[in-house]
């Protein structure tokens, strides 16, 4: 085996082009999981249309022995199952790569590339001969290519068999038919081509202690563990799967043993205006409540978010960001709501935001969001995105500490109220800007009136300038307290020097890979990943300590950079934006090119000009 061949082991990208609604998702998952169970780090990304059936869809599996999770921007093996996108798909294959196609119908006219290897397998023919029914044949054709790939990549069929057994535990007949399709593909490939390809898998031991999960499922699990009981939402891609997962988990694990009743309320609201209202009403009344939405929903929730900020009612909102403005591209990813969330609503409002970068953080930050919302008595927005939320991420297994108890914040119980002479809702007794609240039904002395109109620290209606300002200023003291409570930025300053990268959320994987690539080219960068708004002290320090700062984000208008210039002392001229906003997840090569173009003028870059 040549050196270049061995470099391709466990380091390549497979892209599968299919048609929406043909059941390719299960085949792709099967392949990815089989690789994962072989101990090899792997990442899956789904590029799907805003459509239910019939439009092109792609799935990308990146096998990476180094554990890189971002898009590499390269395709080594294309499984071209969609005639409509066939010529485009063929063009995308990197020189030296492979094209797998259904040779039932020969396509000589399309096979124009000399620099790649075409592998034709008569998938439709195999399935037509072995299965009955149109739908079954289509589904099995997709499972069949998984078998072909298993042979070409030297995957252990035992993993596949086991995975099928787990998936169809309740429908054993499906295990047999699926396995038959796998074997048909597998045997056909073995008989026709020299298997495995030089570009193949080899067992490793790098995935134990890890799971493969999407960010929305992880966040939903966080809500379950946080003790959330009220979930209200209005369906919108890409947030719906978070709510679906919460319901599925709760239907299994939140049923009261004795009565069979549900220890949760799951409410499909009439719109996002109502969804956030329900969350605020429930949180006000002492339940942990949340909603999940995307940009259009955030826009609708603005008025209520201002009420919750000003009347100081906890609320947890997941914003699974997608491409805007307006309906935009609902099934593509973006970080376009950073500004809209930070200052959501009219008047002087500032909202606490958390920025998870991966599925693991989605889980932990979901729990944290509830604790912060109740501790600070304010909305907490968790800004995930389509890439994090709907793609499968390899991440460390979630550890759960049984000692955890929800932080209900400053909530007075009956005995505590009893001891008071009189209860006042908005008096800052502790000097941290956070006041005490009570729940209805606890004690007649506990009553107070919640309103979005001007109110005094005693909870009374007011139009008095002094009283109004007193309260608004106290909210700033609370904001300062929030800075100390929110998750700190993650800083990697091992490179030393004065050049840094600043980013948020799902850019993380691409940045870490880019940093390795740049280091190999002699460019060392320090990295700060911001994880919350308000910005903690360490953000200010990192910005001050660097002369050149690349701000990497996935939107057109440099929203993170704008927020940094508004909320820190940083000198604007030091911040150079690398902006990726085509709707696809950012790749490492995009960042490498952008950084080099700035540091070594004359190099080509795809990055939008720094501001």
């Amino acid at each position: 085996m040549s050196a270049s061949d061995s470099a391709k082991i466990n380091d390549f990208v497979i892209k599968i082009a299919t048609v929406n609604g043909t059941g390719s998702a299960s085949a792709n998952m099967l392949l990815m999981k089989a690789i994962f169970r072989s101990g090899i780090p792997v990442m899956g990304k789904n590029y799907f249309p805003s459509n239910i059936q019939g439009l092109p869809t792609w799935y990308e599996i990146r096998v990476s022995k180094q554990g890189y999770v971002a898009c590499s921007g390269r395709v080594d093996i294309m499984v071209a199952m969609n005639a409509e996108t066939y010529s485009k798909d063929v063009r995308e294959v990197a020189p030296g790569g492979y094209l797998i196609y259904d040779s039932t119908w020969p396509r000589p006219a399309l096979l124009k590339r000399e620099d790649i290897t075409a592998i034709g397998v008569p998938l439709a023919k195999l399935c037509n001969e072995n299965f009955n029914g149109v739908r079954t044949r289509i589904l099995m054709k997709n499972i069949c290519y998984a078998g072909v790939l298993a042979a070409l990549l030297d995957l252990d069929l035992e993993h596949v068999r086991q995975l099928l057994a787990e998936t169809y535990a309740k429908k054993p007949q499906l295990v047999a038919s699926n396995m038959k399709a796998i074997e048909l593909g597998y045997e056909c490939a073995k008989a026709t081509f020299p298997c495995p390809l030089p570009l193949r898998t080899e067992k490793m031991a790098k995935t134990s202690g890890y799971i493969m999960i999407d960010g929305n499922t992880a966040a939903a699990l966080g809500c379950v563990f946080a003790g959330a009981t009220v979930a209200a939402w209005y369906p919108i891609t890409p947030s719906t799967s978070l709510m679906d997962a919460f319901k599925a988990f709760s239907d299994r694990m939140r049923i009261d043993g004795a009565s069979g009743r549900k220890n949760f309320a799951f409410i499909q609201a009439e719109d996002e205006l109502a969804a956030i209202g329900m969350v605020i009403g429930a949180s006000w009344n002492g339940a942990r409540a949340f909603t999940a939405t995307s940009g259009p929903g955030i826009s609708l929730m603005n008025e209520f978010l201002g009420l919750a900020y000003y009347a100081e009612v906890p609320a947890v909102i997941f914003d699974i960001q997608r491409v805007g403005p307006s309906t935009g591209m609902p099934t593509r990813t973006q970080q376009g709501d950073i500004m809209a969330c930070a200052y959501a609503s009219h008047g002087d409002t500032r909202q606490v935001c958390l920025y998870p970068a991966n599925a693991e953080e989605c889980f932990h930050m979901a729990v944290q969001a509830f604790d912060l919302a109740e501790r600070l008595q304010t909305p907490v927005l968790v800004l995930s995105d389509l890439d994090i939320g709907m793609n499968d991420w390899m991440c460390r297994e979630f550890k759960w500490d049984d000692a955890y108890r929800p932080d209900r914040g400053k909530m007075l119980d009956k005995a505590e109220v009893e001891k008071l002479e009189k209860f006042y809702r908005y008096v800052d007794k502790d000097g941290d800007g956070i006041t005490y609240r009570t729940l209805p039904g606890v004690h007649p002395k506990a009553a107070y009136f919640t309103r979005g109109s001007g109110h005094t620290q005693f909870g009374m209606y007011t139009e008095d300038s002094v009283d109004y300002q007193l309260l608004l200023d106290r909210l700033l003291i609370k904001w300062a307290s929030a800075k100390k409570l929110v998750p700190r930025a993650l800083i990697d300053a091992t490179a030393g020097g004065e050049i840094g990268i600043v980013s948020v959320g799902s850019c993380d994987g691409a940045i870490r890979e880019a940093m390795d690539l740049l280091r190999a080219r002699g460019v060392g960068l320090n990295y700060m990943r911001i994880r919350a708004f308000p910005f903690s002290e360490d953000v200010e320090r990192f910005l001050a300590a660097h002369q050149v700062l690349f701000v990497v984000e996935q939107n057109r208008d440099a929203q993170l950079r704008a927020l940094l210039t508004l909320e820190t002392q940083v000198e604007k001229a030091k911040l150079h934006s690398l902006l990726h906003y085509n709707g696809l997840p950012i790749s490492s090569s995009f960042i490498v090119e952008g950084v080099l173009a700035h540091l070594q003028p004359g190099t080509k870059s795809r990055a939008a000009a720094g501001q």
Binding site: M212, G227, G281, K399, Y404, P444, A447, G452
Partner: protein, 351 residues
């Protein structure tokens, strides 16, 4: 504007309810509405109803949107938590609050603007969910707080104070609620406390969504000649169809009712509502007939009033959702978290 506290000295001879509380104990902050505003009379009826029912103040939750009407939640039952939310969105706050604790009394106060324009969607969906609450619309045909624009309940031909005539057909909350499947639908008049108090009591005790559309004249912007929501017009055109008596649990029915014309209904907690037909042909249990009659009489410029439709026993939100009898906000955390052992089981699916 500052808050004026009412003197809280109860005369020893003031009547007390079974909790030992006087009517004054059920009052709230001093009203800041215009003198003579119908809304204040409704507030007084709510105070009376709660006192008579001997509701523990902390077990009442007061919710409202925005408007003169929505302000009134501050003017009754000081010992209850209140939430004056945003314009038209009180039903969602009520839904969330009720989801968190099903074992409190929820009373929502809204206006015709708050409910029938900006909040129309939430109003309809609260009915569809059969949210267990009493929903009072203080209906004056105008937006009082923004100075007298027509609301969606303004009748065709009704004249605004400045002389403008309304030509758009009104949305009638009662007819709407009937078509949406509401199980308790009433109309009343702020000037008829005798009718209103038992309706409020029955509405608070009803399990499910109870609507009372209360004609409540705005003396400042809609009480003139040519208005169809003025005191004079309402007095003249309102027609009790059903007389409602609320009989609390402890009390025996004492009044004499002519057989055939009365309909006693036992509520879920054992208290009773006795409906007395004032109009022999009107059947408050026949939804379609009710809607037809109400509509016919509206055409004749007559507001039928009373508990116009009643169908107890429909499952409310929690019955449909399958939540436990106790409050969700009181379920101990231990019963909510799958714990580390549960986590291991969950993770197995993702390996």
């Amino acid at each position: 504007m500052t808050f004026i506290a009412k003197p809280k000295i109860a005369h020893p001879s003031l009547p007390r309810n079974p909790l030992g509380m006087t009517r004054r104990d059920y009052e709230g902050a001093l009203s800041t509405l215009c003198a003579g505003c119908g809304h204040d009379s409704i507030t007084a009826a709510v105070v009376e109803a709660c006192w008579e029912l001997a509701i523990e103040p902390q077990n009442l939750v007061k919710l409202s949107g925005i408007g003169c009407s929505s302000k009134t939640t501050a003017y009754f039952v000081n010992g209850a938590h209140g939430f004056n939310s945003v314009h038209g969105r009180m039903p969602s706050i009520a839904m969330g609050a009720n989801a968190a604790n099903r074992n409190l009394h929820y009373i929502g106060v809204s206006g015709d603007g708050d409910t029938l324009s900006i909040g129309l969607g939430q109003f309809c969906h609260a009915i569809r969910r059969n949210l267990n609450m009493l929903y009072i619309i203080e209906n004056n045909g105008v937006y009082g707080l923004t100075k007298g624009q027509f609301s969606a309940s303004a009748d065709v031909g009704s004249k605004a104070k400045k002389g403008e005539t309304n030509f758009q057909p009104p949305i009638d909350a009662v007819l709407l609620a009937l078509t949406l499947g509401a199980s308790f639908v009433a109309r009343s008049f702020s000037g008829d406390k005798e009718q209103l108090v038992p309706l409020i009591q029955a509405g608070l005790k009803h399990k499910g969504f109870a609507l009372i559309d209360v004609l409540s004249p705005c003396v400042t912007f809609n009480d003139h000649e040519g208005s169809t929501k003025s005191y004079a017009y309402t007095r003249e055109h309102y027609e009790p169809a059903i007389h409602t008596d609320f009989v609390p649990l402890q009390q025996a029915i004492t009044a004499e009712y002519a057989a055939g014309a009365t309909l006693p209904v036992v509520l879920h907690d054992g208290s009773r509502i006795v409906l007395r037909k004032l109009d022999a042909s009107y059947d408050p249990t026949d939804r379609a007939a009710c809607a037809a009659t109400i509509q016919e009489r509206l055409k004749e410029e007559e507001y039928l009033t009373g508990l116009l439709f009643f169908e107890p026993g429909q499952p409310e939100f929690h019955d449909l959702n399958g939540t436990p009898e106790g409050a969700l906000n009181a379920v101990p955390y231990e019963a909510l978290s799958p714990g580390s052992a549960g986590m291991q089981k969950i993770l197995a699916r993702y390996r």
